[in-house]
């Protein structure tokens, strides 16, 4: 049979393409199901938090322990590489733009809860090159640990020191692993996520639940009838570093 080389290549190429098409079709078929949020999910447009500092002072350790326990936050044991989603700090370190040399002793010694502020105008969301840090539809600044490349640009951008990086494998440093939540691996950045996974099934954030006296009020900033809006209207509140334009959503009643 006389067949030119060119024709042979044409027929051969077309055959291979056809043979390859069938398995490809199966792979590209896509997942047949559909997706929807949990019916119990708490809905809001703009989650925010009001911390009543005086009411919370006794529950601080319990709140942080609750958060770190259910989220498998490791205890690295040295301040250089520590990972903390929420921590205790003082007025002089949190409100740097509003402190002076003659602060009253009470305020100097008062303990505050510090955590990610889930800013409305978050610098970390702006700088993330892969959108691994992103603002979800409910106003929470989320971390997608699957996508994070560990470049730590978000840590440089955050003006509040709220973010931690996994310098080493965190697993050995977790005292008791919560099997319902994943851990992270070395090389990604992590921070408080306003307990998005708990809100999604109708629960309150762990720290809110652990604050017995109503020290932490959590709710929708965009809903004028929410608990946070009521608290903000009834009390004088301060925020961290307001002059930077980040519009944080954590307010403190001092």
């Amino acid at each position: 049979m006389d067949i030119s080389r060119r024709k042979f290549l044409k027929v051969g190429g077309a055959s291979i393409l056809a043979l390859g098409a069938l398995p490809l079709r199966n792979v590209l078929a896509g997942t047949p199901g559909s997706y929807k949020p949990d019916s119990k999910a708490q809905k809001a447009k703009n989650w925010a938090m009001v911390i009543d500092v005086n009411k919370l002072e006794d529950d601080l350790e319990a709140c942080i322990a609750a958060c770190h326990k259910i989220h498998n936050v490791p205890d690295i044991g040295n301040p250089k590489e520590e990972i903390k989603w929420a921590w205790i700090d003082t007025y002089e370190h949190l409100f740097l733009d509003n402190k002076h040399d003659y602060l009253d002793e009470e305020m100097k010694n008062k303990k505050f809860l510090a955590l990610c502020n889930h800013c409305e105008n978050a610098a970390c969301v702006r700088v993330c090159p892969t959108k691994a840090t992103f603002k979800n539809a409910e106003g929470i600044v989320m971390m997608d640990f699957h996508r994070c490349i560990g470049c730590r640009y978000c840590i440089a951008a955050c003006p509040y020191g709220a973010r931690s990086f996994n310098f080493r494998d965190p697993r050995p440093y977790i005292e008791e692993i919560n099997p319902e939540f994943p851990t992270r691996m070395k090389g990604v950045v992590e921070k408080c996520n306003f307990c998005a996974e708990r809100l999604a099934v109708g629960l309150q954030p762990a720290c809110v639940e652990a604050s017995k006296n109503g020290g932490i009020i959590f709710g929708d900033l965009d809903d004028p009838n929410s608990e946070v809006r009521k608290a903000l209207a009834a009390h004088h509140t301060i925020q961290r570093k307001t002059n930077l334009g980040t519009q944080p959503k954590v307010f403190y009643i001092v």
């Binding site: 610098a123 700088v127 993330c128 892969t130 990086f165 090389g187």
Partner: protein, 402 residues
């Protein structure tokens, strides 16, 4: 060209130099594998100093890469003929530098295997995304331009017309790579040492001092070891560029002191106090910064007067001083200084880890390797064209004599 330069023209001391670099590269790679296994805990970085020497070196070498424009712009836009012999030297230095930059970013990443996420999920609001775009583009530009111009020269013809288009694009592109790198820092609301519009111009000025200074040193080495003479006029003009750029850079560094200490705003003063005098008992950087200050003065004292600038020995000391002082300012103190006072007002210091240093040395060796190989090709091509043009002149003068 590669075959001729590397295999046909045997040079044992050159092979020895390449082998030495390969040993350093091997050690660096071993250290990197150790870092991949253990995590970035092997570096000196911490929760507060989240960027360290890797990003500092990246910032420094983006500057060196951008400096190729200081040869290309005068030659192609203003017909400064003296630079004709060495534009390729600048472009090949840019290639080596950009590759070093990309390697520094890669070794700094916590999840390097996910680097393609930057391409799969492009984020135009992020300066880091644009940094990837402009650096990759600049690498491609210099590869195409440098190789084609050199190859055309080796064949004795003019380079094709489209190379000219690429060359014109590379001029603003070079400015953009260092501007985008500056934008990584100068738009972050919480870092007061970096939150100034002056970063981009200061980066460019120091790049235009560092790069040409390095080029002068390279041309001296090429003359000494490979018999390639860049030409006295080219070196003279380059040294003028280094001098003016160094003056502008030191001026920009100095005006920061005025803004910080005349305004007395703590956020502005803190880093400069830490770097040059120590802050709250922490003073790890102070000796380095005073070396920077002294070397900058030495550089200016040697480069400003014409006599010392035009004498080879003092010019070289001046250029080495420029390089080291700028390396301290940009490669060491800039990144770490911006992070030293953390957002809660506490000071954390930084000492690099051993694996970190070995990786950095390994990447320097990779840069030196690439640049050495490329320069060997340049030298072998230029030698041939020099002989050809010398012969042509001989023949034509002989004919005229007849």
């Amino acid at each position: 060209m590669l075959e001729k330069a590397l295999i046909k023209e045997r040079n044992n001391s050159f092979y020895g130099w390449l082998f030495f670099l390969l040993v350093l590269i091997g050690i660096g790679m071993g250290a990197y594998i150790y870092q991949l296994i253990e995590g970035l805990t092997v570096t000196g970085m911490s929760r507060d100093i989240s960027w360290g020497l890797y990003i500092g070196q990246f910032t420094f070498f983006v500057g060196v890469a951008a400096s190729a424009v200081m040869l290309v712009l005068p030659y192609y836009l203003h017909n400064v003929k003296e630079f004709g012999r060495i534009t390729v030297v600048g472009e090949f230095l840019a290639i080596g530098s950009v590759i070093m930059c990309m390697l520094f970013i890669l070794v700094d990443m916590g999840m390097p295997m996910r680097v393609l996420n930057m391409i799969l999920h492009p984020t135009p609001t992020s300066p880091m995304f644009w940094d990837m775009v402009v650096l990759s583009g600049y690498l491609l530009l210099n590869l195409f331009i440098g190789w084609n111009v050199l190859e055309a020269e080796s064949k004795g013809v003019h380079p094709p017309k489209w190379v000219k288009v690429l060359i014109y694009i590379s001029i603003p592109w070079a400015v953009s790579i260092h501007t985008v790198t500056a934008f990584l820092y100068s738009g972050l609301p919480g870092r007061h040492y970096w939150l100034t519009a002056l970063i981009a111009p200061k980066f460019l000025a120091s790049a235009f001092a560092t790069g040409p200074a390095l080029l002068i040193i390279i041309c001296f080495l090429l003359k000494k070891f490979a018999g390639f003479d860049a030409g006295k006029e080219a070196i003279r003009k380059l040294s003028l560029i280094v001098t003016y750029s160094m003056c502008i850079t030191i001026f920009m560094v100095a005006v920061e002191f005025f803004t910080a200490f005349y305004s007395q705003v703590p956020g502005h003063m803190a880093t400069l106090q830490y770097l040059f005098a120590g802050l709250h008992g922490h003073s790890g950087f102070v000796p380095f910064m005073w070396v920077f200050a002294i070397l900058s003065v030495v550089a200016l004292v040697l480069l400003i007067p014409k006599k010392t600038r035009e004498k080879e020995s003092t010019l070289l000391i001046g250029c080495i001083s420029v390089f080291i002082s700028m390396w301290i300012e940009k490669g060491l103190s800039f990144v770490i200084g911006g992070l030293v006072e953390n957002p809660l007002g506490r000071i954390t210091e930084y000492t690099p880890g051993l694996a970190e240093i070995l990786i950095i040395v390994g990447i320097w060796a990779i840069g030196a390797f690439i640049v050495s190989v490329l320069y060997k090709i340049v030298v072998s091509v230029k030698r041939e064209t020099d002989v050809y043009s010398a012969n042509t002149i001989q023949i034509s003068t002989r004919n005229e004599g007849l």
